[in-house]
Symmetry: C2
Subunit: 435 residues, 2 copies
């Protein structure tokens, strides 16, 4: 992988593979030496000859820095990187109901720092004493059981990187005249963590599953009593009772001390502050799966129990608020995800969907996790319509908005997964538009 200096050769084949300067992803995949000898790129990427170096010695060079701390926080210069609180707590529609969004356009990689994981709750964030918390498993079981945290800690665990996406994420796309905004504003009810917990099947099997049990009811102990029905196949599959998030115990707003994790399924079903699981013959039809989280179709009927979040992608760089700095080389980057498995490919168009170039996918490419994609790009400074289109391992392809509303109409509020479009203006300004 390492190259000695005299082995470096210019990347000779820099022909665009799609319109408006999209280059081949192998520039990244090959370990990319395409800058070598390409002196013309120098000024374009804004590096300055060393004569321009500051002569002054900064304060932090002159004296020792701060002490070590028990629990670190970001630099004060990063304070603008915050969750976007879009609905204030203790107001409409009910006390404590609302959400905050992850500022995805300011992040990189695939892990969301836990402090910036999106929040969604129906009665605020409870402050639960873990020693007083219990998980009850009852209903169609041989022996109802109650678990405290200490007993759960004895069970085998599993770790996995998974996204959680609110069913209502990107919901503005359903409107007849959709709103526009930053990636975080429009699509920020989406985050990705390394989760660790107890596979749910161990707990259900220990309680003894009655063969009549085909569903479970999962309920949180927050004041709203948020609850959802889940088919038993998912509960016995990759479902877990999550106890850890990105290495440490899960955060209060993510369900401390425990939440249900149903990889790839709509966020609302990943019940936080989990305290009760009841095995049942059929779905319970709770308020949270009848009054909400159903998809209203053009004929006035609703689809219910549409669980997996569909294949989707969004370019984060460039994007609204992440503007261009003049013509030249750029990396186009963003992430793709699917509730039905791994991402297989992501294509990028710089001419509004007429031609496409396949992006490089960054490892790890995990099932039901965000996958970072990257593509080299020479921007000539002209106006461009930029889009990404994801395909997952089931073969499902992210639709255009026209295709999506052609099927599902404009009355729906959930599961919007249409292509996001950025208009790059000659000034370098990037605007969210609807193609």
């Amino acid at each position: 992988m390492a190259k000695t200096p005299n082995e470096v050769t210019p990347f000779a084949d820099a022909e665009p593979v799609a319109a408006n300067g999209l280059l081949h992803r192998r520039m990244f995949l090959s370990g990319g030496a395409f800058f070598a000898g390409a002196a013309s790129l120098s000024g374009l990427l804004s590096a300055q000859p060393a004569s321009a170096q500051m002569a002054t010695v900064p304060d932090w060079r002159k004296e020792p820095g701060k002490s070590f701390t028990p629990y670190g926080v970001p630099s004060k210069f990063e304070e603008p990187v915050q969750r976007l609180v879009t609905v204030r707590a203790n107001s409409y529609p009910s006390p404590g109901a609302g959400s905050s969004r992850t500022p995805l356009h300011l992040l990189e990689g695939i892990i969301t720092p836990s402090g910036l994981h999106f929040e969604r709750s129906h009665s605020g964030v409870p402050d639960i004493d873990p020693d007083r918390h219990r998980l009850l498993i009852h209903g169609l079981v041989r022996q109802p059981l109650v678990f405290d945290l200490e007993s759960l800690m004895r069970y085998p665990r599993v770790s996995a990187i998974h996204f959680i996406e609110c069913a209502g994420n990107s919901g503005g796309g359903w409107a007849v005249q959709p709103p526009v905004g930053f990636v975080g504003t429009m699509h920020g009810l989406l985050s990705c963590s390394e989760w660790t917990g107890v596979p749910l099947h161990y707990l259900l099997e220990e309680a003894g599953i009655d063969p009549k049990a085909k569903w479970i009811l999962a309920e949180g102990i927050d004041a709203s009593g948020m609850s959802r029905s889940v088919p038993i196949e998912k509960a016995l599959g990759d479902a877990m009772v999550a106890l850890f998030q990105n290495g440490e115990r899960i955060r209060p707003e993510q369900g401390y001390p425990m939440r249900l994790l149903l990889p790839g399924w709509e966020g609302n079903m990943n019940v936080k502050w989990l305290h009760r699981i009841k095995l049942t013959e059929g779905p319970t039809y709770t308020k949270d799966e009848t009054s909400k989280y159903t998809e209203l179709m053009p004929d006035g009927k609703s689809m219910q129990f549409t669980f997996p979040m569909e294949v989707k992608s969004v370019i984060t760089r460039p994007s609204e608020g992440v503007n261009m700095q003049g013509p030249g080389f750029y990396e186009i980057s963003g992430f793709a995800w699917s509730g039905n498995g791994k991402i297989k490919r992501v294509d990028i168009s710089a001419d509004g969907g007429a031609s496409w170039a396949e992006a490089a996918l960054q490892e790890p490419i995990a099932s039901r996790a965000l996958t970072r994609f990257r593509l080299p790009w020479q921007w000539d400074g002209k106006e461009v319509i930029l889009q990404s289109r994801a395909t997952d391992e089931t073969g499902a392809v992210q639709p255009t908005r026209a295709e999506l509303i052609g099927t599902k109409g404009v009355k729906n509020a959930y599961h919007y997964n249409g292509i996001t479009t950025w208009e790059i203006r000659q000034s370098g300004l990037v605007k969210n538009v609807w193609a």
Copy 2:
């Protein structure tokens, strides 16, 4: 993967595969239904029949919880999960020199939350204004260049999960009478993050590499001027100028606004607050690679430039401070890592190294990253000597302490990678011992 209830069958083959109750890892690998029908496990894992459920309704069920927050923090009940500050800043040996350690025995998975990433610095943590920070590349180049943050943001990026381990981690093992302690106390100069940055080769190639350049000097702009020499092959290989850690901009104590990342190489070389890279014919022999970070051998000579951190593992559960709760089922878990590539296997012994059982490795198994391992275990309540032994993809096997000091003596202070031993007492108490 999912099972319907009547397909569940007891795991019939629960014969130990090594002494003192170590079971086969396929119990996890197969999706494990070994609890099903195993009613005898029920009481042992402390789950209680539902009649024992609390009758009182907790406060957090009765009223709405807290509001949403711009940047979240852990639960107040998790305050004991802190970095272990072992040397106070502004004291010996020089102002601001010291470290804090990651409480690894309290964590799960492989990602270290950024707030708990270990700290090591030689003059405290500088508070750098990113707009005033510059990176100079000079020496044996065609054209010296200065990069500000805005110009670096234009370059292609790479993301990867990598550990950073201080060369002095676990250094107590070299002592004639080694100290004992928690995993975090003994081995906590080790953390693992998803890092994103600019591959260094892009920047060096743009400056134009003189064929005479065989090394680089990397220097930080902290008051200590921490600096190290790096062979050009590594600089042109997987080295990056890291800008993001676990999704957000890197933390001040990790080098904000930028650090050198040399995957798998001793932590000290991953120069923080990076402001200067000089291409040179040979190593610079800085104070930080001559007065320190060399390995003193029994013959009085020192080994220098021993860069990769060797293959290593440690069991975190059970471990000192993470005690047993009586006989019965347990999961043994911990992590393994190697600076030379991927972990290939981890073996566990419950009889002081006489017999071994292969552990299950949790995906993702990434090169130069922590890898979580797990093994099912039936503990019969007798005294046990518990050990883990890692093997990496180069075939290197983690040595015993006897093997290690047999080769390198007891005068060394760096690169200790011997096997860690836990003594499980009949009372359930777990103590760190030296086998």
